[in-house]
């Protein structure tokens, strides 16, 4: 009883609610659809959403710092495009391309951070312009998609890391989990991470406490840009192509995942781990719909909306009950 009350009072309560709700969703799917309850379905959630998870980790930092980054989807697409072009047209070695793409993402993000901080502009508008810019640059490289057949990418794409009983995980999923772990560690165990929280809690106070506000802000956007380009690489492993239309609306998915995971959009409150539960919830909803297989296009949208509502409403009501207790 006492332990229960302590769990209720813990600040991570909302995150646990998400986990429980997710388990419930999964159980419902397993009861209803054949083949749903296999381990591979769970692992596919990770494999198929690895790129989203990486972006959401970066986005968590941005949102925790009280900002927002709308450019991630486009930066991801730009990365696939640049990587594909360098590999296929310029014939650069894959390792160089990977390093360059990551550096490019970090630079893009840092630049946005510098503009936001240096000119005291709102992150929303700066990253929105960044979103147009990155997407536009994709089309400048090529409007068509470019297929990637570099051996390193091919093998990363098709390697299956076997787990128990025929189930497997992709290298991309493993990388994403590693990024998540690194994100957790950074957010909760380093001075940088705590400064990010402080910024989101109250930027003026953070400044008056003498915390490195400017540096942290720029670093946060650089981190998000880096995550977006890493996600782009994972996406390139996953799709083996570079294309300007990749990742449409991924920024919204990532923001939704982070917020569903319990992070407050205005900053300062939440956990990086919430990114995982948020991504899994979104993935689970999609899997449920794919398994159902009777929904038309519009019913798909409505069911996604409905499940999202259910999830958020229940999570919220439980949180309110807790606050009242």
């Amino acid at each position: 009883m006492n332990a229960w009350r302590r769990a209720l009072a813990a600040p991570s309560f909302t995150s646990w609610v998400s986990v429980a709700l997710m388990a419930l969703l999964f159980a419902a799917g397993a009861a209803r659809y054949t083949g749903f309850a296999s381990p591979q379905v769970v692992l596919n959630l990770l494999i198929d959403n690895a790129f989203l998870l990486v972006i959401a980790v970066g986005m968590s930092f941005v949102i925790l710092s009280g900002g927002i980054d709308l450019s991630v989807g486009s930066v991801m697409a730009l990365t696939t495009m640049v990587a594909a072009w360098l590999l296929q047209v310029a014939h650069w070695p894959a390792e160089t391309v990977i390093a360059l793409a990551l550096a490019g993402g970090v630079a893009f993000g840092a630049l946005q951070g510098l503009v936001i901080h240096g000119f005291r502009l709102q992150p929303f508008i700066v990253t929105l312009a960044g979103m147009f810019l990155a997407r536009g640059l994709c089309f400048l490289i090529s409007v068509d998609s470019i297929t990637i057949d570099a051996p390193l990418f091919l093998s990363l794409s098709q390697t299956q890391l076997p787990l128990w009983g025929g189930a497997f995980l992709s290298p991309g999923a493993v990388i994403a989990l590693a990024v998540l772990a690194a994100g957790l560690w950074t957010a909760h165990g380093t001075a940088f991470g705590r400064t990010v929280y402080a910024l989101g809690g109250n930027e003026t106070s953070a400044l008056m406490m003498g915390l490195p506000v400017g540096r942290t802000k720029v670093a946060v956007y650089a981190l998000s840009g880096g995550c977006a380009s890493l996600a782009g690489l994972l996406f390139a492993f996953y799709m083996l192509s570079g294309y300007g239309q990749h990742g449409q609306g991924v920024e919204l998915d990532a923001i939704a995942a982070v917020v569903i995971g319990g992070t407050v959009l205005t900053g300062g409150y939440g956990y990086v781990a919430g990114a995982l539960s948020g991504v899994l919830v979104l993935g689970l909803i999609q899997t449920l719909i794919a398994f159902d297989g009777t929904l038309s296009s519009w019913w798909t949208k409505m069911v996604i909306g409905g499940l999202l509502f259910l999830f958020c409403a229940v999570q919220r009501l439980l949180a309110v009950r807790k606050a009242g207790a």
């Binding site: 165990g189 001075a191 400064t195 402080a198 809690g201 109250n202 106070s205 406490m209 300062g268």
Partner: protein, 519 residues
């Protein structure tokens, strides 16, 4: 006292649009001294401090530290130079834990991974150690927002005390502390003085100034009026120098007065909220001032919030305006003629980006609903009337309230509630951060509001950590201890000493235990 000042400020100028906040300000800080910076609200004390610490860039002037010119442009710079500051408003992050707020910026690290990893155990131990210096034993892992403003203020001080420094600056650190806490802080400050630190201290409490300071710099209208040794400046002279003219009259002394016999306008029975307040019975009558006395965390603020509907009560009921019920929102309380001036003006009072006029008008307008009750001219007139009556120092009624000095913001918020002409006015630490003169004016106001001759007087609930203030103003005093009433005493039944005895009865043990569980 060594001959050379650590920190010297000469000829400092700083203006904001329409306001000259500092013109020709001077200051000298010597190592091993406690230096009081005195001045009326809006005299420029906080601005001076913000310039010193790199938050504002001065228009002109020189700063030297140890004889070398400095020009801090960021607080980080000032910290690196060994200047530690506690600003006037609590400037900490409410979402971080107490320990983090204390250690942020210089966390104890683990040697792992090139020392990047924060050593949380050390962080918590360190936070407990610093708070322990001030006898505050709270759960340092709880978020700062769980604690009342006074605790937050202590945390802010603890943060500044944590690392050794050359100069320590405290801008009204005691504004929401009770006596005991103030004494503990003073002990710490005296010890630091012994260690050779230069301490700059801003307060509006003359007692504290004389108890602590070696030297006093007086500011008036953005200028340095002069620098004096505390031992050579009488209180009256100090006040005169701050105000700029001899006081035209002695502050009104108390006339004794028959206990008011107005009808009860606000009655609470068994009002309680889990974890915040034990069942409380309380009655305020028309024309009387009921004082709430108690120590930090004794539950005065909680009681006020429940009476106003700011928090929902779990049990009990409130009778006001002829009906008995429990509030569901402050709106209902306001409709029943209750007003509440919160102690936390930054987060619960002022709307920093709104003009002074709109801040004053807000409650009145909210009660009226969407319909504009006053024309633009009437609004302006009303606001200007209160600005004059309460002596709010502002460029105009259109100035955003965030640009006012702390004490003037407080006055504007008082005006907000006076404008609604409430039947019951709850004032939680209304004297926080306002200067000597204004404080006396305010207490006079409070008493006149209640004791109007036409029997239309308000009922007031007056909360203050300054015991003398409470005793001075109140017709009856309710003493609170450990979140419950410890007794009600009529005026004259109590003096300062006996109240302290009531408060202290068993609280030394229990305050420490209540401390560990955040609300």
């Amino acid at each position: 006292m060594s001959p050379a000042p650590v920190l010297e400020v000469t000829n400092l100028h700083k203006s904001f649009p329409g306001v000259k906040a500092l013109s020709n300000a001077h200051l000298r800080l010597y190592p091993g001294e406690i230096h009081a910076l005195m001045g009326q609200n809006g005299a420029g004390k906080s601005t001076l401090i913000k310039v010193l610490t790199g938050l504002y860039t001065p228009d002109a002037g020189h700063l030297t530290l140890d004889g070398r010119a400095i020009a801090p442009t960021r607080t980080e710079d000032a910290q690196a130079l060994g200047i530690r500051t506690v600003y006037q408003e609590v400037n900490l992050c409410p979402n971080l834990s107490v320990a983090e707020n204390i250690c942020a910026g210089r966390f104890p690290r683990k040697p792992l991974l090139q020392g990047r990893r924060i050593d949380w155990a050390a962080v918590h131990a360190e936070a407990r150690r610093v708070l322990g210096q001030m006898d505050l034993a709270i759960d340092v892992t709880a978020p700062l927002s769980h604690y009342s403003l006074s605790v937050q203020q202590m945390v802010a001080i603890a943060r500044a005390l944590r690392l050794s420094a050359r100069v320590l600056i405290l801008d009204e650190p005691t504004s929401s502390l009770d006596d005991a806490a103030v004494q503990r802080l003073f002990t710490v400050l005296r010890r630091l003085r012994e260690q050779g630190l230069a301490i700059l201290f801003v307060t509006h409490f003359l007692d504290q100034t004389y108890a602590l300071a070696d030297r006093i710099t007086v500011m008036r209208n953005g200028e340095t009026e002069g620098e004096y040794l505390a031992s050579e400046l009488s209180r009256l002279a100090l006040v005169n120098k701050m105000v700029g003219a001899p006081p035209d009259q002695e502050p009104s002394r108390l006339q004794s007065r028959a206990a008011p016999s107005g009808e009860p306008v606000l009655t609470a029975t068994g009002l309680a909220r889990r974890g915040a307040l034990q069942p409380l019975d309380l009655t305020v009558r028309r024309g009387e001032v009921l004082g709430l006395a108690g120590l930090l965390g004794s539950g005065r603020t909680e009681a006020a919030r429940l009476l106003f509907g700011a928090d929902a009560a779990d049990a009990g009921s409130i009778t006001a305006a002829g009906r008995t019920r429990r509030w569901r929102s402050p709106r209902e309380a306001i409709a029943a003629g209750i007003a509440f001036c919160s102690e936390d003006r930054k987060h619960e009072g002022a709307l920093l980006d709104l003009s002074v006029r709109d801040n004053i008008l807000l409650a009145l307008q909210a009660r009226a609903g969407l319909r504009r009750v006053l024309s633009r001219e009437q609004q302006q007139a009303l606001a200007e009337d209160y600005i004059r009556r309460l002596g709010i120092k502002t460029a105009s009624a259109d100035t955003p309230i965030g640009q006012l000095s702390g004490g003037n913001q407080q006055k504007a918020l008082l005006a907000r509630w006076l404008a609604t002409q409430p039947a019951v006015l709850i004032l939680d630490e209304p004297t926080r951060g306002i200067d000597v003169r204004a404080k006396e004016d305010l207490m006079d106001q409070v008493r006149t509001l209640a004791h109007r001759q036409d029997s239309q007087g308000m009922a007031l609930l007056f909360i203050s950590s300054e015991l003398p203030e409470v005793l001075h103003c109140s017709d009856r005093v309710l003493v609170m201890r450990d979140r419950r009433a410890a007794g009600t005493y009529a005026r004259g039944e109590l003096d300062e000493r006996s109240v302290l005895e009531v408060i202290a009865a068993q609280s030394s043990a229990s305050s420490a235990s209540s401390a560990t569980s955040p609300a």
